[in-house]
């Protein structure tokens, strides 16, 4: 009579962090194999910069205008990533495979949000220099640390809300549409804080540090929605 031992487990799975790492590794491996989402996000961003150049009909932009263009471009590029985040799980049985395992289910949220965050970081490594090259007037050197800090906080917001919204959207019929229409209003406060926060940094003789109140708002947003997402995510998985 089987007792479930011997080469198998005793029924208990790995802890939360190991589960997060397992799922994250799998997702990064899948992206590396497929290489569809990240290149698309990068290309989209660069094309958008070109569009803005013609749309605004200016040689260079600076200050709040530049902040607006950069933030909006990153936001829409992240929408592309958000739409793809759970598609493989839905179409190839990934949800079932995960739900059958004796693991903490919030690990899926953490793993996916981390994956999206990493995609956004890689995107910005390419898109921000491209932005400086194509559109930005003032030099990127001095404000860079402040800019990176704000972008990091912004990426957390995009990643958390993006994961939540993507998990909802993937189970609906209008999959690609629901994500953006629900996600964009939800991200508006973060967008406001991010754009207004880096506006002064990109000005001609701008300061090197972002205004404190916008950092605070963005950080508050991140904390509130990270906790909220963690609290409700289980309800999206159960049946």
């Amino acid at each position: 009579m089987r007792d479930g031992r011997g080469g198998g487990g005793d029924g208990r799975g790995p802890g939360t962090w190991r589960t997060v790492v397992t799922v994250l590794r799998k997702d990064l491996l899948l992206e590396l194999r497929g290489l569809d989402t990240l290149p698309a996000m990068i290309l989209f961003s660069i094309v958008t910069f070109v569009i803005f150049h013609f749309g605004l009909n200016q040689e260079t932009i600076a200050g709040q205008e530049a902040a607006g263009v950069l933030t909006v471009t990153l936001l829409f590029a992240s929408m592309l990533g958000i739409n793809r985040l759970f598609v493989a799980e839905r179409e190839q049985g990934g949800f079932d495979g995960f739900l059958l395992a004796p693991v903490d289910r919030s690990a899926l949220l953490i793993a996916k949000a981390t994956a999206l965050f990493l995609f956004l970081v890689v995107l910005e490594v390419i898109a921000v220099p491209a932005f400086a090259l194509l559109l930005l007037g003032p030099s990127l050197g001095p404000p860079l640390p402040g800019l990176l800090a704000m972008l990091a906080l912004g990426d957390v917001a995009f990643a958390v809300i993006g994961t939540l919204v993507s998990a909802i959207a993937v189970q609906t019929r209008a999959r690609d549409l629901i994500g953006p229409i629900v996600g964009l209003p939800l991200l508006l406060p973060a967008l406001i804080a991010l754009a207004r926060g880096i506006g002064p940094l990109l000005a001609a003789h701008g300061s090197g540090t972002p205004p404190g109140k916008w950092v605070a708002i963005l950080a508050l947003y991140d904390v509130v929605f990270a906790l909220l997402s963690y609290a409700v995510f289980d309800f999206l998985l159960e049946d």
């Binding site: 909802i168 209008a174 629901i178 708002i217 947003y221 509130v224």
Partner: protein, 242 residues
Amino acid sequence: MTTYGRGLRGLSLLTVLTITVAFVLVFFYAPLDANQGFIQKIFYLHVPLAITALCGFVFGGLLAVMYLRTGERKWDIRSYVAIHMALIFGVGTLLTGTIWAKASWGHWWVWSDPTLTSFLIVMLLFATYQPLRFSIEDPERQSRYASVFAVVAGAFVPLNFLAVRLAQPYVHPRVLTLTGGNLPGPMRLTFVVAWLGIALLYVTLWKYEMAAKSTRMQVRALRRALLGEDAVAPLKRSAAPS
């Protein structure tokens, strides 16, 4: 099952009465505003609608929490009705707001008004509630996902107002403060009565719709019990919980 119809007639009469009294007060009792003139009176409609709509959204979020905790369909139906009533009141808010803006400041829309902008963003978010529901066919999943949305969106409301308020120098007339406002006496009385009327209207309409939905569900259950499962055609795909 709760009977939503109980006391409904009395409530309706009270609502009609309060609104009538408010109407009278607005046109015959409240003084004319020195700066804005007659058009200022739209304030007695606009602000109560706004407050009621926002409270309705938060109310819908709280009802959704109850659904997630208990799993009972009735909480989801209550949450749905609360939110879509609030949406209707919200549209009213935006319309009266733009009319007031045009009359007071000369433009149909002013971005420098944080309250109106915040309200627009909240409406854009909640406007996705019904498309989201409509897009999920499995009824139980629809209720669960809609409830998750309602909870997150409800929490979003205060954060959104904070962010937008900080983003702009305010132009929106501040007539209500925590200490009860800088409204002169007669205006304050009129405002309170108007607010009461709108709030009662919301509750009455909510109860009416709950009664209608509850009755329909019971009728369908009875028909299924009497005529068999197959005699009752399933409801078409819809945004409303059945």
